[in-house]
Structures are given as structure tokens and as C-alpha cells.
Symmetry: C2
Subunit: 426 residues, 2 copies
């Protein structure tokens, strides 16, 4: 098969990229191949679906803020039900961390992000299940528990149903005659000479070469541009051509709770119109909770770092022990309502971590565009990244993000990268 | 076993680091473990051994220039025969590339690097075997051969015998009672709680944790600081603890030639006191040649990039085809004396490539220091990197390089990296 553009991966980044390349020129043939049987079935749909515009780096802010605007457009103007709920993001901060993060929060505010602050007294009123003060007991000290000094709240952050989101991208792409081939595995990129001589062994080291498409489980596909957007699987096809995707896969687990004991916490009032628990980040161990409106449950994730291995897993599994004998110890100290509560459901996906600056990469090489390494925030930046891939394919210096803001494409490249250090990490 | 410092890897970076940490405080116990049977047996001693102070980035210049000064000190003052020969580095540049690289060469000059320039006429005199002009024949055009416009020469660059260099580091380290255990494989880093509670499953996500040593094939070694300096093998022990070493291994082959037809080229006059072929970079395909004084041969390597896979190999092999059916086509156009000449010997090692900025990394995490990702220039920066590892271990802001220049340690870290883009790459 021959095509103008081949996109490897029908996750959120592949479909967004495919959509914008096709939309720019509907006469162009854009083919997406996906080894799984549907959109977003790799890691996209396994995500917790949180989104936030609270970032200290301008790059992250632009990518996320414009994508969130696009989510609103999808849901409100185009009437896709992508399960968008403006729950807000609530950072529960001990005194020292509050002091440390004050500057980055101020920066985010200056950029245009709305931010509210709640004192520990206010938090106690709004979230009566939360413990904000600990005694000097051995247990508290042993666990390094710190009093919650302040809640910093981003009301324009929230949660989206990623499965529905990828289906919306898929529908928009198919509507303009995009082609998607599911159950089609791109096994190898074609590294070919720009001007073939017909001699065995090409391309030689002295020859100009390019990526010319891919071998797939359904045959060879030749393409002018090949976009590698297969997330944690990118190294499987990029390592063999010697292209460093600067990404390592790391498992992230989600535990869902439906216990009646958590009813008051789930239905936390006053933070959002849904009157549901906002996306809430505990002061310890990167534990994150959110109210999931669609199923009246609380979802829990944990951003474990050192100690959590890098390794590609096709079908990562949640670990019962990880909740019950690990997170639980700390969780129940801040939220005693979790006492003896066990998850009703759990699953796991993988993040594509860029260990360098935790910011997505869009890098071009002859015939090839790589988008990925989004480090856990690819969904909330998906619309912007798709537009940037399209702009890179057009060799444009700037991409126009949803809403009209410009973005310098090379800022996300490897060769000419210009990314500020992000200080607002979970 | 317990030790103050455990160094994993007795390659050039491990031994240099171990030496400086031991030298600072000879009462401190510094133990090096190495899975192979001698120093530098991984990839160090398989290197071509070139060194240069021609770099455009200040970081690279400081690291290399001070290390080269140290090589002189080792050979001339301490009287180690490390086979150091100031052959010079000769870049053969087509017109456009000469124009492009003029600024970076000027920058290197301003920093203190000596640089000479030779016109194509002068080059023809000095290196009569070199073709500097090509006709418009189909062959020349097909191969993209370009006339050599200028030779840019760094007289203070050259070549060192890496096997002897690592043995010199080893000897200096042993002299001050450093301990090295060969045939000892560090299989796993110990990720332990800072304050152990004695509960199974530690460290928990809410616990402060650190690297506390390593399991080895000869038993557990507990250490205050563990230095991971095992080059291309670093990911094998760092991936499991979720620490991104930002490095991917890539094979590099060396072919050695002893044919009498190459005698005039080998004994190229006027560039250096040895009257031997300088390290010479051809205009095409990253082909690099050098006269090897110790064995009266010419060594050839090729910096292949796209198309050369990333993959860890314990015992990489040179590929006959790679020379005869690939490099040879271009090589023989520039240097017809290679016609029908086959390598007398060949071997292969692996580079630890940092795909981000091709500059070494020295990153600390509690109990751990990682040094590596030197991307093919670790040997020529080895002395500076060892001193920086020592300074990081002392939590010093600056390291003092050989000769007294200061170096800000965090410039090579991941978290606070400050590295200029290098434009003088081979």
C-alpha cells in the first residue's frame, strides 16, 4: 500500500495527529495502523483522565490550556459526550511545600490559570473526612505525615473520559475519510535511500536516507511521512533504526472504590458544580484521588517514582499488595474513612516517561515524525500535540493551537529543545 | 560487606571516579566491583582512543581540555606509558560545511584550543594520497562526494592507548589502597528505606528511601554511596529501580589496516612529531581514520547514525560486510590507496549514547551517583568526570578540574542540566 501519511498507533496522540494532518488537506491520504482492535486500547483508555492547566512551564501551560479549551469545544459545541467534568484540582500542601510552590503557582496564575486557596480551617469545613493535623505520635513521625497548611485549587481543571475522547477523535477523523486499520501491527520501519541505486545493502552509510513507511502484519505500507505515535511501544520500532525516543515505560495503577463509607468524601460539596470530590493530591507519596462522576466511585492513583521499575509491559496488571500493604498505610491517616475499605476494581496502564524534562517530544527526521514521551500528561495535551505534528509535517515554524495561540514547534524537538523546568509535578 | 563507597564498573569512568573519591580521603573505604576479569574490558579498551579539545560547547571543552592536560601529566610527570601521541585531529571539510563550522571553530579557538587551517592545495602536498576534487561523473554525484575545500587541524588533539590508560588509573587507585573485585557482577541495586521499620514490603511509597548498595555475584555490599559507572550496562541495574540513565547502547566498529599500499598515508609527514596520519575525518559518512603508532597500522571507524540500531550487546562483533560493502565505496574515492585493501584486524565496542545532548551525565539520587551516557567521548573526559563524581559525593557545588579550573557539578545533572548544544560532532 502507498499513502501520503502513515500514523503508527491509534491512541490519543496518533488519532489527534492523524486528524489534523487529514483536516489540513482532505485530499491527502492518511492511514492509521493500530495493533490492537480499537482506538485508545493501549494505554490511553487506561488513564485516570485528569486534566489541568496548572503548570509552571509556559510550554506545558500552552499545550494543556489549549487542549482543555478544545475538550470544551468537543463536548459543548460539537456535542460529543466525552464525560468532561470540571472537578478542579486540589493540592493539599504542608507549610514548607506551600512556600516552595508559591512562586510556580503565581507564575501559572499570571499566565491565566485560575487559582483559589483554602486555609486548613476552610478545608476542614468543606472536606470533613480529611485529617489536616497530626499529633506527635510515633506513627505520624515514622510515616513523615505533615499537617495540611493550605489547599491550592485550580477550578478549571478536571476529568475526562478518555475512552470517549479517543472515540471522538476517531469519529472526526473518519468523517473526513481518514483510514484506520485495526489489528495491524507495524513491526519495522523502512529505512531506505532517498535515491535508491538498486544495489543490495542499501542504504549505505554514505547515502542520504529516510524513513519510507513500515512493514506491518498486513503488508508493507510506503509513506511520504511516517508518524510514530505508539506511546510506550515506540522504542520497539525506533531502537532498531537507531532513533532515540527518549522514553521509558513505567506502570501506573488505578484503584476504584465504591464503598458506602466513602459516600461523604465522594460527594464533597462546594468545589465544583458536580458536588464531587475534586482531583485531590495528598501531601505524601504522590497519592491522587478523584470523584468519578460516571460510576459514583472514587479513583486512586499513586505517582511512585524511585523503586518503580522501567519496563515495557503489554498487559500490565495492578498489584493488590500495592494498595493494601503500601498506599493504604498513608491514605488512611489522611482519610480515615478508607479504613478497611478495599478497591472494587483496579487496572493498570503505562506512562511513557521522558526522564529528561517530563515534557512531550515532537522530533522530525527525514520521512519520520516522532511524538510521545508525554510522561503522563499526553491526554491533556493531545489536541495541541496533534496540531504540532501537523505543523512539523508542513515544515512550519509555528503551530496554531486551538483558540489561536501560536506554538514554536522546535521547542518540543530534541535538537532545538526549549522547555522550562516544570515545578508543578504531582 | 560494608563500604563507604561502592563503584559499579572498572571501566575508565568507574576507575577515575573511584580514584578521586579515595584520594580525597584515603581512610575511606572505596570498593570497585567489575563483572569482567580486568580493568576497561567492557567497552573502554575497545575504543579508538582519540582525544580532542576541539569542542564548541564550553562544557565539553572544559571536560576534555583538562583531561588531556591530565593525560600529559600521567605520561610525562608520573611516567605511565599511556601511549599518548599528539597526532592532531584533521577535519576535511567541503565548502558549505567549512562555512557552517567556522563559528564553532572560532568559539573553540577563543576558549584556548589551538587551530590551524590548510587549504586544499596545502593538503594535496601534505597528504598526496588524498583526492580533494571530484569530477561531475555519475559516480561522484550518486555518492554525493564533495570537494575538500579546507582542512581544519587541532594540533593538541591525538590518541591514547586506552588499555594502558585504565591500567594507570587502576595502579594509582591500588597505590592508595583502593579495592577492586574483578569477576564480581553487581546484579541489583538495593533500594532501602532511610529509616527501616522492619516491616516486610519496605520501602513503602510514603517512606523516604535511598540506594544502599548492591547485590553482587559474590554477595551483598552495603554502601553509603553507590556509583553506577558501568557504561552501556547501566540500564540493567538502573531500569529496575526506575532511574532513567538516559542512555542507549550503539555498536561502533574499528577496522585496522597494515597493507604496504597504505605506508605513505600512514607515514603522513608534517602534521605531528610522530610523522603519522593524524586523526582524519572524511567529508562523507562520518568516516574517521588515524595512524596507530604502536603497531604501524591505520585504524578506521565510522560514526553511523540513523540505521544503526540501539541494543545492548555483551560481545558486539564487527561486520565484514560493513567495511567491504559499505564504507569502502566512499573511502576508496577519497583515498584510492585503499583499493582492494582489506582489514588485517577488526573489533567492536559499544557507545553509551545520550540521545538528548550527547554530553555526559552525572546525576545524584539519595545514596546513588550515576556517571555515564558519555556518547563516545567518555575517555577523553574521564579525568574531569571522575573529579566531578567525587565533588558530587562531597555535595560540593564546584569540582576542581586538573589544572585548577572550576566546573559547576549541576551542569551535568539531569535536574539542573546546563549544557550548550555541541556543533563540532564527528
Amino acid at each position: 500500500m502507498e499513502t501520503d501519511v502513515l500514523v503508527v498507533g491509534a491512541g490519543v496522540l496518533g488519532l489527534s495527529s492523524a486528524y489534523y494532518m487529514k483536516k489540513r488537506d482532505p485530499s491527502r491520504k492518511v492511514v492509521v495502523v493500530e495493533k490492537l482492535s480499537g482506538p485508545g486500547q493501549g494505554n490511553s483508555a487506561k488513564s485516570e483522565g485528569g486534566y489541568r492547566n496548572l503548570f509552571a512551564s509556559e510550554t506545558n501551560y500552552l499545550l494543556a490550556d489549549s487542549t482543555i479549551d478544545w475538550f470544551h469545544h468537543l463536548q459543548e459545541d460539537l456535542e460529543y459526550d466525552i464525560g468532561m467534568h470540571e472537578l478542579g484540582y486540589l493540592w493539599l500542601l504542608p507549610e514548607d511545600e506551600y512556600r516552595e510552590r508559591r512562586t510556580p503557582f503565581d507564575v501559572a496564575k499570571k499566565r491565566g490559570a485560575r487559582i483559589l486557596e483554602y486555609s486548613s480551617e476552610e478545608l476542614k469545613q468543606m472536606m470533613p473526612d480529611l485529617i489536616t493535623e497530626f499529633d506527635d505520635s510515633e506513627d505520624s513521625q515514622m510515616m513523615g505525615l505533615e499537617d495540611v497548611e493550605m489547599g491550592v485549587f485550580g477550578p478549571n481543571c478536571g476529568s475526562v473520559d478518555v475512552d470517549r475522547l479517543v472515540k471522538a477523535y476517531e469519529a472526526e477523523f473518519l468523517k473526513i475519510s481518514g483510514e484506520i486499520h485495526y489489528n495491524t501491527d507495524a513491526t519495522k520501519l523502512l529505512h531506505d535511500p532517498v535515491e535508491p541505486l538498486g544495489i543490495p545493502g542499501e542504504p549505505f552509510v554514505w547515502q542520504e536516507s529516510r524513513i519510507a513507511g513500515a512493514e506491518t502484519s498486513k503488508g508493507k505500507i510506503l509513506a511520504e511521512t511516517t508518524v510514530v505515535a505508539c506511546g510506550t511501544w515506540a522504542s520497539k520500532i525506533l531502537d532498531p533504526i537507531g532513533f532515540d525516543c527518549l522514553m521509558r515505560p513505567k506502570k501506573r495503577q488505578i484503584f476504584a472504590f465504591k464503598d458506602p463509607k466513602l459516600s461523604r468524601l465522594l460527594n464533597t460539596k462546594d468545589f465544583n458544580e458536580d458536588n464531587k470530590l475534586p482531583v485531590t493530591i495528598l501531601p505524601t507519596a504522590g497519592i491522587l484521588l478523584k470523584g468519578e462522576v460516571s460510576e459514583e466511585s472514587i479513583w486512586l492513583a499513586c505517582a511512585d517514582n524511585l523503586g518503580r521499575k522501567f519496563e515495557l509491559e503489554d498487559d500490565p496488571k495492578p498489584e493488590d499488595d500495592y494498595y493494601a500493604n503500601n498506599i493504604y498505610h498513608a491514605l488512611v491517616q489522611y482519610l480515615p474513612c478508607f479504613e478497611d475499605v478495599r478497591p472494587a476494581n483496579s487496572w493498570a496502564g503505562q506512562y511513557a516517561i521522558n526522564g529528561f524534562d517530563q515534557t512531550p517530544i515532537v522530533e522530525a527526521s527525514p520521512g519520520l515524525i516522532y511524538v510521545g514521551a508525554a510522561s503522563g500528561s499526553g491526554i491533556m495535551k493531545s489536541d495541541a500535540l496533534g496540531r504540532i505534528v501537523d505543523a512539523v509535517n508542513e515544515e512550519k515554524e509555528y503551530a496554531t493551537l486551538y483558540g489561536g495561540r501560536g506554538f514554536k514547534c522546535s521547542d518540543l524537538s530534541i535538537a532545538n529543545r526549549r522547555v522550562e523546568k516544570e515545578t508543578l509535578v504531582v
